[in-house]
Symmetry: C2
Subunit: 361 residues, 2 copies
């Protein structure tokens, strides 16, 4: 079985590569789900695609994190049904990670699966969410609890979209780039710790976007169903996902803004806590851990939480879908580029959380 | 990739084959979804399984056709979440086609897929629904619009369940057996047209159950994702599904009971209409068509509808998920055991519906 997606990338990839590809497929087969906010801020970039499709083939939806749920899916399924979308058609998902996750999930179970193409418009989407076919929505406060493996036939990473992203969006995507850099190691790590995500233009980002897309695509090609190699992409996510899910669903004892935590911010926190555990358990080098802490302090506000909040966090970690026993499994690292799968107990996880709070808060 | 399920079959298969298999898997990993009505009518057969599992591993749900929807799925997902079901666990679905379709669907997208075992308790489940990994729920009045391919690791067809089925349930399952007999041909067809579904005991049914399970399993092993050979199993279903969906969602101009149409009854009607089309288009033998009509008249009440209802029926056929263009695709037959995939237009479908009404009504 072919477990790979066509990758279109670079500036103007949408106009110069994706559009001709869709014309070749046959436009009457193509439907589009678009984050409605993009109409205002990326009309120029989107024009070649919008202009190609009949209006009734396009569904505009809200696609903030708070919309990543079954009710929003039902809007999409209603659109598919009313538009008589069939199994031979193709759905192009245009938006950030929420949109490509949700659009992909909706497509994956509509008529037991129709083809998708992802056009990520955020950095996070380009380097992570839109690649690899993991689709999902949140459920009962647990991130991505309902989902499917549904590989897109193509992913179009057009760096034109980067120019209008907010600092917050760039920093969120950068969290995944930092994770990839730890897994790839070598030159990528050296460049990441010298990189300034807030004062770089699209061209400077291109190196990290291309390398991240290619790295993730290569991992997924080996292990789509997440039974082996792919698990390494979960680095920083055992604790990161729990923090993200917890913060979004709880009131902060520190007052404000908890619900604004981004995925990448949570991953950076997760990386620090988890790599401290790797330092203790596997001898992961302290100097790299401190380079990571320096990078976090330079770019990210700390996530504030107390030790009284460890129990609900641990509860969330135990619900993580990658977790298959009472101990929590997580990706440890022996050194840069050397991930290893481990099980850890509550005490070790609490030590990781303690370390994060000591260093950052 | 392994596209096959272990098949346990015969009298006492649940007690003698499935239970030892589950003990080998490890009982703490096993959860069960059970149609609550079975507790009353099959307590004895179910006892070896019920007794094995902790009470909190068992979810009782309603599983009539009217419950095959997303709300019912949400009960299941809530149970999985609250019971901390994880990706290494196994869910045993015990019930008719609605329960195995719905339980399988819920499992397929929970944490992107956990393993299932099906224990069909209806004839329809044993010969069709529980085998082959097509899972689904209905949506917006369209049958099985949302679903996934999710092959069970095992299917247990215990014929002890057959003894308490109603005539209506036996006749529904028999509809699929008739379809399989047309596809297999030869001795199976000869035996089916001589068989009396209302005056036969479990042992006499065993021949058809075993042959149907094995036939379907063999087809699915070749073509899980329904890209080729498996499409032949759709024989009678293009029109049959539309009739079933339409009847369940409409008031009869003839007064009563439309909502009681069973899947198998609808398939028998679909087989007659579609094989008439095959007779006209492909020269399918008239004598076999008339054997089928005789079998239908002997065993099934006709489905009553008028030509004014053709348009909504055609609309439903065009929404069928197997349909990939504006023409409607259906499984034609040249002769017994010789299916062929065709596209037909509205006129040909109306001719099939006319023929059914002339012959049966």
């Amino acid at each position: 079985m072919n477990h790979s997606s066509i990758i279109f990338s670079g500036p103007n990839a949408l106009k110069c590569e994706l559009v001709p590809y869709l014309i070749e497929l046959g436009i009457d087969r193509v439907f589009m789900i678009l984050d409605k906010i993009l109409l205002e801020i990326h009309a120029d970039t989107l024009y070649p695609l919008m202009d190609l499709l009949p209006k009734e083939h396009i569904l505009l939806i809200e696609a903030g994190e708070e919309y990543k749920h079954l009710d929003q899916c039902q809007k999409v399924w209603r659109f598919f049904t009313e538009s008589k979308v069939n199994r031979n058609d193709v759905v192009v998902n245009v938006g950030g990670g929420v949109l490509t996750d949700l659009g992909g999930f909706c497509a994956s179970i509509y008529k037991r699966g129709i083809s998708t193409i992802n056009v990520p418009t955020t950095l996070m989407g380009m380097v992570d969410a839109a690649i690899g076919g993991k689709t999902a929505v949140d459920y009962l406060g647990v991130k991505n609890l309902l989902g499917a493996f549904h590989l897109p036939i193509a992913v179009c990473g057009d760096s034109s979209f980067l120019s209008t992203l907010t600092q917050k969006e760039l920093l969120s995507g950068f969290g995944e780039i930092v994770k990839h850099s730890l897994l790839v190691g070598g030159d990528m790590w050296q460049r990441v710790i010298q990189f300034d995500p807030l004062y770089s233009d699209s061209e400077e980002w291109q190196y990290f976007v291309d390398l991240s897309m290619k790295y993730k695509e290569a991992v997924v090609k080996e292990d789509l169903y997440d039974n082996g190699l792919r698990k390494c992409l979960n680095l920083g996510h055992t604790i990161g996902h729990a923090l993200e899910s917890y913060f979004i669903n709880s009131k902060s004892s520190f007052g404000t803004d908890r619900d604004l935590v981004s995925h990448g911010e949570a991953v950076i926190a997760g990386l620090i806590a988890e790599l401290y555990m790797s330092n203790q358990l596997l001898g992961f080098p302290s100097d790299i851990l401190h380079q990571l802490i320096y990078l976090a302090k330079e770019n990210y506000a700390p996530l504030l939480f107390t030790c009284k909040e460890y129990d609900p966090l641990l509860k969330l970690m135990k619900q993580d879908k990658k977790n298959i026993s009472k101990a929590v499994s997580y990706v440890g690292m022996r050194s840069l580029g050397e991930p290893v799968l481990l099980e850890v107990d509550d005490e070790e996880l609490k030590n990781g959380l303690d370390f994060y709070r000591e260093m950052l808060c």
